[in-house]
């Protein structure tokens, strides 16, 4: 079916730049988003200097950060701090993790895992990458416009975001407006991608691959796509409304009678600031599950492969993920408990929030039980996957005090929240995604990454991740607000300064710990050990294709004969039964 296309030799441009091949697009996504991740992290390493040593000049880079970020002495400005913070959040979420988890891994691995020759809509796929790319470039360009990048947080709450970054008379030429335009592009890209994913998963599975024989990772991508499909449009709508507010002076989010810096604001009024928050969090809560579900999927794959036994409770896992996806649409206002909620609404949202924690507990328990009576191989990807479990547990558990509206009174908008979600997204998702890179690298390049460098990457990263984020819980409980340029303005802030410095040192250590990875990533592509198509002795279909898979993926269209994780089946020749090998050849 697929062996005969592209009889002619496509040129470099159509092969590697405007390629329609899901694998090339997947690699494009992966590399671009890794670079964005590193960039987003660098912003935070700068901010952590100001937090650890408030008011001292930033070493090394302070001199050339530009007048919107630092003053003449190289000290970070408060508005520069806000810009970096907003851009860190935005870049990490929308330009780093989502494109890596969905655009990168989803694009590359998912079609292979279902035995498809490509995505259902290759042109749409290419378009979604380039729209993402355009969004990223637009977002970055905002560092250079007058007034600097957006500085109202990644949440961009109006009225602040409506009045922020207005410099001179250019309606478009300022950070916040560019942020909005870039967000519209990024959301569009995700929408194109999610349509493509759903159709591909439903329509292009090979013969024999029923829904309940799909690898867990595919299920995770499937649910994620629905979240992207249905949750992103409201933010797109909100973005359009805020653009109108900024460019056409409407007042959707501006109530009447505002006085900013002593000046009465002129506009028609009658808007609602809370409207933005609803539309934003309607997206952003499902969004956080977009950040975690693909990671859980990757962890599931790696764990099944390295425990050499089937995932415990595969169906339970699938149902939990579906339920999680569904529930994630009905909890959003737990981010808004303190905007003035009455008893009725707060009861509704805290109850749904407690309910949504149950499927997470079930998922984690199932993954944990998969270790029982296993034969655990501590490969590098497995180390990353294993570290995900306790880290996600800490992140998830600390979500509970935030989810109860009464305890959220004390913890809302403190570093406790920062600690909570970083435990899920950084030691959780980031570690899982890195594990995924090590796991599928041999498929993409035909070569393995260095194990030694892998260990040099894993252990310090694991330690430093905790050094960065654990102290944040203490800082938060002590009552220090987030987004503070200088927390030592407050006596509580001075008291926890030791913890804060520890976080900062951890962050820089974490930065250093990425060097072995970067080296490993680029060098192994041509210096790594050559391996065969199935180096991990895995069962799912992507390992049935050659490494790297040719255009069209499979030399011969596979047929699925069984479920995804048939490891250590009694009386078998080997300890794994690939999905595509008929029974007659394995027993």
């Amino acid at each position: 079916m697929s062996s005969d296309h592209h009889a002619h030799n496509p040129g470099f441009i159509s092969k590697y730049v405007f390629s329609l091949d899901h694998k090339v697009i997947g690699v494009q996504y992966t590399v671009t988003s890794l670079i964005f991740l590193f960039f987003g992290f660098s912003l935070m390493m700068i901010m952590r200097w100001q937090l650890a040593y408030p008011g001292e000049a930033i070493p090394l880079v302070g001199g050339w950060l530009g007048k919107y970020l630092v003053d003449n002495n190289g000290v970070l400005l408060p508005e520069g701090y806000n810009s970096l913070g907003a851009m860190h959040g935005t870049i990490m979420v929308f330009l780093g993790v989502v494109p890596l988890a969905v655009g990168g891994f989803g694009n590359y691995v998912m079609p292979l895992q279902i035995g498809a020759p490509d995505m259902a809509f290759p042109k749409l796929n290419m378009a979604s990458y380039w729209v993402y790319f355009a969004g990223g470039v637009t977002m970055l360009s905002s560092f250079f416009v007058p007034g600097g990048a957006a500085n109202s947080g990644w949440t961009a709450y109006p009225p602040l975001s409506n009045i922020a970054n207005t410099v001179g008379t250019y309606p478009f030429w300022n950070g916040q407006t560019i942020w909005l335009l870039a967000m519209v592009l990024l959301i569009t890209s995700s929408l194109l991608g999610s349509v493509n994913f759903i159709v591909t998963i439903m329509h292009l599975r090979v013969k024999g691959l029923t829904m309940f024989r799909l690898p867990f990772f595919v299920w995770a991508q499937f649910v994620t796509s629905f979240l992207l499909l249905l949750a992103f449009p409201p933010l797109e709508a909100a973005g359009v409304l805020q653009l109108m507010d900024r460019v056409f002076d409407t007042s959707f989010f501006m109530p009447s009678g505002l006085v900013v810096s002593g000046v009465v604001q002129e506009y028609s009024g009658g808007g609602s600031p809370l409207l933005w928050q609803h539309l934003f969090w309607f997206l952003a809560h499902p969004e956080v599950y977009v950040l975690i579900l693909p990671a859980i999927g990757i962890v599931g794959e790696i764990i099944a492969n390295n425990t050499r036994r089937p995932l415990w409770g595969y169906k339970t896992l699938v149902y939990s993920v579906i339920f999680l996806g569904f529930m994630s649409f009905v909890v959003w206002a737990h981010h808004m408990f303190l905007t003035g909620m009455g008893t009725a609404m707060s009861t509704f949202f805290q109850t749904t929030t407690m309910i949504i924690s149950i499927p997470s507990v079930v998922i984690l328990t199932a993954l944990l039980l998969s270790l029982w009576q296993a034969s655990i191989r501590f490969t590098v990807p497995m180390l990353f996957a294993l570290s995900f479990l306790p880290m996600f547990a800490i992140g998830g558990l600390t979500g509970l005090p935030l989810g109860l509206s009464a305890s959220d009174i004390q913890l809302h908008d403190t570093y406790y929240v920062i600690g909570h979600f970083h435990y899920v997204v950084a030691p959780g998702t980031i570690m899982a995604l890195l594990g995924g890179v090590y796991f599928w690298y041999p498929k993409v390049t035909g070569r393995k990454m260095s194990t030694l460098l892998g260990h040099l990457h894993f252990w310090p990263s694991f330690v430093f991740m905790n050094t960065v984020f654990f102290p944040m819980f203490m800082v938060g409980l002590a009552g220090v607000s987030r987004r503070l340029w200088d927390q030592t303005e407050y006596v509580q802030g001075i008291d926890v300064q030791g913890w804060v410095r520890m976080s900062s040192w951890g962050a820089w250590g974490l930065g250093l710990a990425q060097l072995p990875f970067i080296i490993n990533f680029f060098f192994s592509a041509f210096a790594g050990k050559k391996v065969d198509a199935n180096p991990w002795k895995a069962t799912t279909l992507e390992w049935a294709a050659p490494s790297p898979p040719p255009h069209g993926n499979f030399a011969e269209v596979p047929v699925a004969y069984r479920g995804p994780y048939e490891y250590s089946v009694p009386n078998a020749k080997e300890d794994f039964h690939p999905q595509h090998i008929p029974d007659s050849q394995v027993v």
């Binding site: 439903m202 809370l274 409207l275 609803h278 309607f282 206002a333 909620m341 009725a344």
Partner: protein, 105 residues
């Protein structure tokens, strides 16, 4: 819908019928807006008529009646989230703006 030529020919008639119905309903909506009824009732009437028109378009022009369960599920889920998105923000903002009524000025 993999319709045969015969089916298509048959459905052309229903397209024209629906067209007529839509035109009539548009006239009715405009007429109804001149009725002297309360605002709530007026909104209700207008939305009911719009929903009827919408379902006609969806089920006949878009052939929704001939589709399979998968699509229904997708649409039901979006419709449900749509309702939440419309209702909850309004309720919450309403509740918040009335909290102050509990305390005397």
């Amino acid at each position: 819908m993999a319709a045969s030529a015969e089916d298509v020919r048959k459905s052309i008639k229903s397209y024209l019928l629906v067209f007529g119905a839509l035109a009539v309903l548009t006239v009715i909506t405009v007429a109804a807006s001149w009725l002297k009824v309360s605002v709530a009732l007026a909104i209700f009437i207008a939305l009911v008529i719009a929903s009827v028109k919408g379902s006609l378009v969806a089920s006949v022009f878009m052939h929704l009646t001939g589709e399979k369960a998968t699509l229904y599920w997708v649409l039901i889920i979006s419709a449900f989230f749509f309702l939440l998105l419309v209702l909850l923000p309004v309720l919450q903002t309403w509740e918040t703006s009335h909290l102050i009524d509990q305390v005397k000025p």
